[in-house]
């Protein structure tokens, strides 16, 4: 019988190994699932683990999907470390997409010429402001009325979705779009500059990586970042020290909203090139898994994003090539997060083999 015994100190090795063990479990479950569905497990797994990295185009697609994931996950990691449970990055992402896409639409509709590299920073600012505004609603309601940020941020996702739908079904609908719910395609001036000609991955990736470095420095090298984390780790200690919990709340939510918003603006002006009701494929929610798989650490978020983006692409591939539902992605994401949380037990506990107690009666 396996029993779990508390460790004297949390294991550092396990903190690193736990995501790897979780990944191994996920792979095993995936292989089993493929076998049960009557597909070759090796071929099935290769859709998730090998095909997404096979060739420059495939890698470009992985990095393209990683970009919004990294940005969203970085903000969430900051929030979760501060004990602010923002799970509405999806909504903040959509508002960023509306703001960035709206700006591109304005340039396009008014036929204003602008240099691509001049529009790039404008898109970042617009997206950040959009996402921050949406997150500010959460912060304000929590700050003034103690409204639960989990519920508020989650429900604002649906509001953001409806807002986007209203725009693309209504005022922003392309007059020559055969009544499809979409805006006109943005002019070439306002599209994200690409890193390599012919591949879709754009310079937003560099912005995401820079953001990771910045968030790392903020978390671990600044007093502000320290205060934020103390508020999450031990609220009573933060009060004792005199660190403001309101400032932590606002900082975490605005940073997180801003980063998600930038991701949204990149998505709208990058691969999409227009606004539709389906700008996001759940990046804001997937980023929650990324943040946890990445141990709420910026570097971990980068690796986690690549992994989860491979999952997303693997799901699409197994749909097109193996005839399996792309919902597999969701299953694997769930298994990964579930096993990760289970494996995290090993950080604080160690497994010991124990014989079953021999005597059964109370009086032996």
């Amino acid at each position: 019988m396996i029993a779990f015994e508390p460790r004297a100190e949390p294991s550092r090795a396990m903190a690193w190994l736990s995501p790897l063990i979780a990944l191994a479990i996920t792979v095993a479950v995936a292989a089993l699932l493929f076998a049960l569905l009557g597909r070759d497990p090796v071929r099935g797994l290769s859709m998730f683990l090998w095909q997404p990295l096979n060739g420059a185009r495939a890698v470009s697609e992985v990095l393209l999907k990683s970009t919004p994931l990294v940005l969203c996950a970085l903000g969430l990691a900051l929030c979760f470390r501060a004990n602010v449970w923002n799970i509405g990055a999806e909504g903040q992402f959509l508002l960023g997409a509306i703001a960035g896409g709206g700006l591109a639409l304005w340039f396009t509709a008014n036929q204003i010429a602008i240099d691509r590299w001049a529009f790039f920073p404008l898109a970042i600012v617009a997206g950040a402001l959009g996402g921050m505004a949406w997150a500010a609603i959460v912060a304000l309601l929590r700050d003034r009325f103690s409204a639960n940020e989990i519920l508020v941020s989650l429900m604002l996702v649906y509001v953001a979705n409806l807002l986007l739908s209203w725009l693309v079904f209504g005022p922003w609908k392309d007059p020559k779009g055969f009544n499809f719910p979409q805006t006109m395609s943005f002019s070439a001036d306002t599209q994200m500059p690409r890193i390599v000609q012919g591949l879709r991955v754009h310079w937003g990736l560099a912005v995401a990586l820079l953001a990771a470095v910045a968030v790392w420095a903020f978390m671990f090298r600044t007093f502000r970042g320290y205060q934020l984390q103390v508020g999450g780790l031990a609220p009573a200690a933060a009060r004792y020290a005199g660190f403001s919990s309101r400032r932590a709340l606002w900082t975490a939510l605005l940073a997180s909203g801003g980063l998600a918003g930038v991701a949204g603006a990149f998505e709208a002006t990058g691969p999409m090139g227009q606004l539709t009701p389906h700008v996001s494929t759940g990046y804001g929610f997937t980023a929650i898994i990324v943040a946890f798989v990445g141990r709420l650490h910026p570097l971990g978020c980068v690796f986690g994003s690549v992994l989860l983006s491979m999952f997303l692409i693997g799901g699409e591939l197994s749909q097109s090539r193996l005839g399996l539902p792309s919902a597999l992605t969701g299953v694997f994401q769930g298994v990964l997060l579930f096993s990760l949380l289970a494996c995290d037990t090993l950080i604080q506990h160690r497994p010991v083999w124990r014989r079953r107690p021999a005597a059964r009666g109370a009086v032996a």
Binding site: E5, P6, F223, Y226, V230, A234, A237, A362, V363
Partner: protein
């Protein structure tokens, strides 16, 4: 005669520590047996083994001669072993009777439980109204609920874990009376404590533990405090030299502070006034839960609701000044809870410095990590903290060492005013002596020290003047030379001239000395 309880060879290992090492313990029927030891000596683990909350790795337990295996507290209760824990497990919002009822078999009706509570309480001289909601009870009264609940199971063995830490001296006397009556009926009592005087008054035999092992079984009535403490810690702590204070200006003053409670179970502060002068230690005595937390929150700046002029720090009004700015003005605070408040458990000792110290924060808010580690290392060396180093997480330290570190962190800041709560609570004797000496050194250096403590010994040892807090009111100060344990004990019930006990009648009281209760009309009905 067969022993009521006989333990032999009990061993329990935890990762990195042997909590109980080949421990034997024999308790005769009707005996009040003390288990004495410092915090961390293994007393609590041993009790949990007896009560079935922890399974030993080796050893055997016999109850009235029969070998038993106690796997769960339920099995312990079937063997008629009851335990009163240090921390109560009562539901605040329901009545005494309902709390007791919840812990019993469903065979009795609530009315029957009420009757039995009143009968049992009367039998042992425990004053208790079964219809009172628990949140209106004082700590002493809550303990009575726990004891009555334990007694309703008609135990053969009653275990009490540090039962007097929350009681006034008078309430302690009454508890002892109850325990003696109980022992006279043949029930054995296991009394866990580290207070030597109590053990010598109450107990007829004493098993002393140190570092997980038994160091002696003695008759405490024939031992002195010195000989017992030698058994307990292996050496006597050096006597503390307490010179007369040379007190100066008023450094911290509270004037006429009245403040409503913040939570439903908080305490209202009622017209609180006190002064601490530079170069003196002002002790604040009182049973926990009488407004200490509320007063401390106002003093350190966590609670900023005080009206203008109510809190004066070094001659300047401080009623709206938060903890950080108070610290900049020279007021440092050591809270009662070390892990989670005084220190962040998962962060390193070095990073825990940043809670109250800013020396390693450079311009633009960047943290100089090397400087921070060096600063922590210097504190560890200066205050003799046993830790793996500056990067060890706070929770890897023992309670005493962490307290030394936190005290060191605040003392090293050279405060003008130090507010400290329970400076040696749960700290081993050696570390406690060191902390007390450091507090006196700080006082001699001209710092004003305000110390809130529940340990009368400590208050008498360190304070130059004493005040007592009871039910949200603070007594006038009294010089230590004029204070006696009896007097302070009475004041802890609010019985100083003009104190709350004299003013408000009928409200819940900490420990009124009163005759055994007559059943109230409701319970008789």
């Amino acid at each position: 005669m067969t022993d009521r309880l006989a333990l032999s060879g009990i061993t329990k290992r935890y990762p990195g520590v042997v909590a109980n090492d080949d421990v034997s313990l024999n308790v005769a029927p009707g005996e009040i047996h003390a288990v004495l030891g410092e915090n961390g000596a293994g007393k609590s683990t041993l009790m949990k083994v007896i009560y079935g909350a922890v399974r030993p790795d080796a050893g055997e337990i016999r109850v009235d001669g029969a070998r038993v295996e106690v796997r769960t507290p339920l099995e312990a209760r079937r063997l008629r072993i009851s335990m009163v824990f240090q921390h109560f497990s009562l539901f605040e919002t329901v009545t005494v009777a309902e709390n007791v009822w919840l812990g019993l078999d469903r065979s009795l009706s609530l009315a029957q439980v009420r009757e039995r509570i009143t009968a049992t309480a009367g039998e042992y001289g425990l004053e208790l109204d079964p219809l009172r909601p628990v949140h209106t009870l004082s700590v002493g009264e809550r303990q009575r609920v726990e004891i009555v609940r334990a007694l309703l199971a008609e135990p053969r063995l009653l275990i009490l874990d540090e039962p007097t830490s929350v009681l006034t001296p008078q309430a302690v006397e009454r508890l002892f009376e109850t325990l003696r009556r109980l022992a006279a009926t043949g029930c054995s009592v296991l009394y866990i404590s580290h207070k030597l005087d109590e053990i010598r008054t109450l107990c007829t035999r004493c098993t002393v533990m140190r570092g997980g092992r038994v160091t002696g079984v003695v008759d405490p009535r024939t031992e002195s405090n010195a000989s017992l403490s030698r058994l307990m810690i292996g050496a006597e702590p050096p006597p503390l030299v307490h010179r007369a204070a040379r007190s100066g200006e008023v450094a911290l003053a509270v004037r006429g502070l009245t403040l409503g409670r913040q939570g439903p179970f908080g305490v209202d502060l009622d017209d609180v006034s006190l002064e601490v002068r530079a170069g003196e230690v002002l002790g604040v005595a009182g049973v926990s839960g009488n407004g200490q937390q509320e007063l401390l929150a106002v003093l350190c700046g966590e609670d900023l609701r005080a009206p203008p002029g109510a809190v004066v720090l070094l001659g300047r009004d401080a009623h709206r000044v938060g903890p950080r700015r108070r610290r900049e003005r020279g007021l440092h605070f050591v809270p009662e809870e070390r892990l989670g408040r005084g220190a962040v458990p998962t962060l390193s000792l070095a990073h825990n410095l940043l809670l109250t110290r800013r020396e390693a924060v450079g311009r633009g808010g960047w943290i100089a990590t090397r400087r921070l580690a060096a600063q922590a290392q210097a504190l560890i060396a200066r205050f003799g903290v046993k830790a793996r180093g500056a990067l060890a997480p706070a929770r890897s330290l023992s309670g005493g060492n962490l307290q030394k570190y936190i005290m060191g962190r605040e003392i090293d800041a050279e405060p003008k005013v130090l507010v400290v709560a329970q400076p040696t609570w749960g700290v081993d004797v050696g570390a406690a002596a060191q902390i007390r000496a450091a507090l006196l050194a700080l006082r001699d250096a001209g710092c004003a020290v305000l110390m809130v403590s529940e340990e009368l010994d400590e208050l008498f040892e360190l304070s130059d003047r004493l005040v007592v807090i009871a039910r949200g009111r603070v007594s006038p100060p009294i010089a230590r030379a004029d204070a006696t344990v009896e007097r302070i004990g009475e004041w802890m019930s609010g019985l100083w001239p003009g104190g709350p006990a004299g003013v408000a009648a009928g409200a819940p009281q900490a420990s009124r000395v009163a005759p055994a209760p007559a059943p109230s009309p409701e319970t008789a009905a």
